[in-house]
């Protein structure tokens, strides 16, 4: 009886050993140059050496492109590398912002950009409001005392792990003309609808699918915020005969506010960058009905026959400005929430 579990542990340990042994030997080998470095430069040198790979990758693949992006947005022509490109000043920005009337994208020189910007703004507002309300409701429900809470949490959470392509394919399959949604509507006397071909419906489903996919993530953050609210506050309120509604508006929501701010800002940052799900679901169509900024940048700069890198860069700089403001606010809010929770 006692031998069995022992052997099990042994196998696992041996397996782990097999995996770790080569890694250990490699690390011991690295120790030779690192030790030499330490003798010459001291511990500070080692710290710098350990930071170096990360900084190199950051530098080459994030900071340098960031810097390049600004330069690209002032150049024109079809060449890929900066040294072969022509400096055109602010021409790209002027092209993007050249509009007869900002209310009507048709009067703009780069009307696709304005349609994308308008669609993105619409998407961001509706999606974030709906997403925050739905996640808040779900978090409140999941925070109640109930059986199988883990199961219910998983129900709402699991789409977060699905890839955007998979999410889009699942819904595309449901929404197609012969799909299951139309099949459920026919017995109710509703004619089959081309969900992804009609403009308004395409936008609706883009928003719906984005909420479906991300709702669990925000619910989880809010749930953590709810669980940090001390129970005795509610007990005290109950003893005073406070109604549930009053407890919600006077205790729960004010104390949850820091988490809500984080959720709202995170959702905003993500919504501005909406791309994958909608790109696979609708391809930006019908026409430009669900064309969003990232898709505009991708298509203008990389996917078109004639690449317009300058224009795409200028558009991405404009988008980055919005994102930087939102991210700064989010970092502030997150720091504040952490401080409050640690108190």
């Amino acid at each position: 009886m006692t031998a069995k579990p022992k052997r099990k542990v042994g196998v696992r340990a041996r397996l782990a050993g097999l995996l770790i042994a080569p890694a250990r030997r490699a690390m011991d080998l690295i120790d030779i140059p690192m030790h030499a470095l330490q003798r010459r430069l001291g511990t500070g040198g080692v710290a710098a050496a350990m930071l170096a790979p990360n900084m190199l990758v950051f530098g080459v693949f994030v900071l340098f492109p960031m810097f390049l992006n600004v330069l690209y947005s002032f150049t024109g022509g079809g060449a890929l590398f900066l040294n072969e490109r022509v400096f055109v000043g602010t021409l790209q920005y002027e092209t993007l912002l050249d509009c007869g009337s900002y209310a009507d994208p048709a009067t703009c020189r780069e009307d696709r950009f304005w349609r994308a910007a308008g669609n993105t703004a619409f998407f961001v507002v509706i999606q974030v409001v709906a997403l925050v309300i739905v996640s808040l409701m779900t978090a409140l429900v999941l925070n109640r005392e109930m059986r199988a809470r883990g199961f219910w949490r998983a129900v709402f959470f699991f789409p977060v792990l699905l890839s955007p392509v998979v999410v889009a394919l699942i819904w595309k399959w449901i929404l197609q003309r012969n799909g299951v949604l139309n099949a459920m509507l026919v017995p109710l006397g509703i004619e089959p609808v081309l969900w992804l071909v009609e403009r308004q419906w395409a936008m609706f489903w883009a928003i719906f699918v984005a909420i479906w996919a991300h709702l669990g993530f925000y619910t989880l953050i809010l749930l953590a915020g709810l669980q940090a609210i001390p129970r005795d506050l509610y007990e005290a309120a109950e003893m005073d005969g406070t109604s549930r509604w009053r407890a919600l508006t006077r205790i729960t929501l004010p104390l949850l506010w820091p988490s809500l701010v984080v959720v709202i800002l995170l959702a905003l940052i993500r919504a501005v960058q909406v791309f994958d799900e909608v790109f696979v679901l609708t391809g930006g169509g019908p026409g430009t009905a669900t064309l969003f900024l990232v898709q505009y940048i991708y298509e203008t700069g990389l996917a078109q026959q004639v690449r317009n890198l300058g224009l795409a860069s200028a558009a991405s700089i404009l988008m980055a400005l919005v994102l930087i403001v939102l991210t700064l606010l989010q970092l502030l809010a997150a720091a504040r929430r952490e401080r409050r929770e640690n108190r």
């Binding site: 792990l161 394919l169 449901i174």
Partner: protein, 350 residues
Amino acid sequence: MSSIARFLTRRRGGRAWHFTDVLAWVWLLTGLVLMFGPVLWLGLSSFKTRAALTEFPPTLLPYETRMVDVEGFDEPLPLYRVTTEDGQKHRMVQVRRIGAVAQMADPDAPDEIVRVPLDAREPVRDLHLATENYSEPFERLDFLRYFYNSVFVTVVATVITLIVNSMAAFALAKYEFKGRTAVLGIILVTLMVPLSVIIIPLFSVINGLNLFNSLWGVILPTVATPTGVFLLRQYMLTIPDELLEAARMDHASEWRIYWRIVLPLAMPALAVLAIFSVMWRWNDFLWPLIVLSDRELYTIQVGLNSFQGQLNVQWHYVLAMTVVSLLPVVAIFAFLQRFITSGIASTGIK
């Protein structure tokens, strides 16, 4: 009756039902249908044959029309239940279909051909799992290739991410040096620059480094995740400095301290980062879409997208391969859900 009702609605603690309880259950059950339903439908549909997938309205379970071998015909013929004009029911095979009329025959006497209107017959169907949807893409299409590419990208990127980020986190958590705040600031800035903003210049950098159309071009830009550095650093700050000092007393080199003391102690944080990294890289779409142009190099997500983008979508393959691409993620979720949820709740990363 009323006692049964009372029994069914009895609650723990003897508290009465409140209308919010009802609302909560309505919310949960609607959620169950809306969240699980689509994935369940994907799973069921993926086992249907190509013909069954075009049916409208669709059946819930995968059925297939029974095919019968009939003497005198090379191919097996579909079997139908036919109601003749005098109300009798027969089992017949369809020989040919012309417009709204089918030529049908008794499988035992295939020479006598009867003309039957389409609405007077119903196919004989059996439950059948179209497993060929799963096997054929691996044999005939490049799917095995895509799968392999995705596994390669995910594993290599995750290993590099863990090593590179933990080294940086260790340096930032355990050493005082000039410019540490500056480095932390730079990492913070990179948090603000999502990939979607820098795709254009990053594309030219990748081209300049000759990494275009290579899996390394997909891997390298992703390995220095700012969230990963912060997550690990935060955790390493909780490791007491006395441990490191004691090791130094024993003449352990700094590298050995990192590798033998700090890394094993930071295992929980490393596990969280590893899980996240696997999910990120497995699910990445935009960047691989930009970098990879040869079909043999496609990752699973790009491959799936190219299948569904075709004019005539082969849904029977697309659905089955979607399920396959889900399996690793489902496995991670099933075994490591605790890590993921606590990771998100405590750091707000995704």
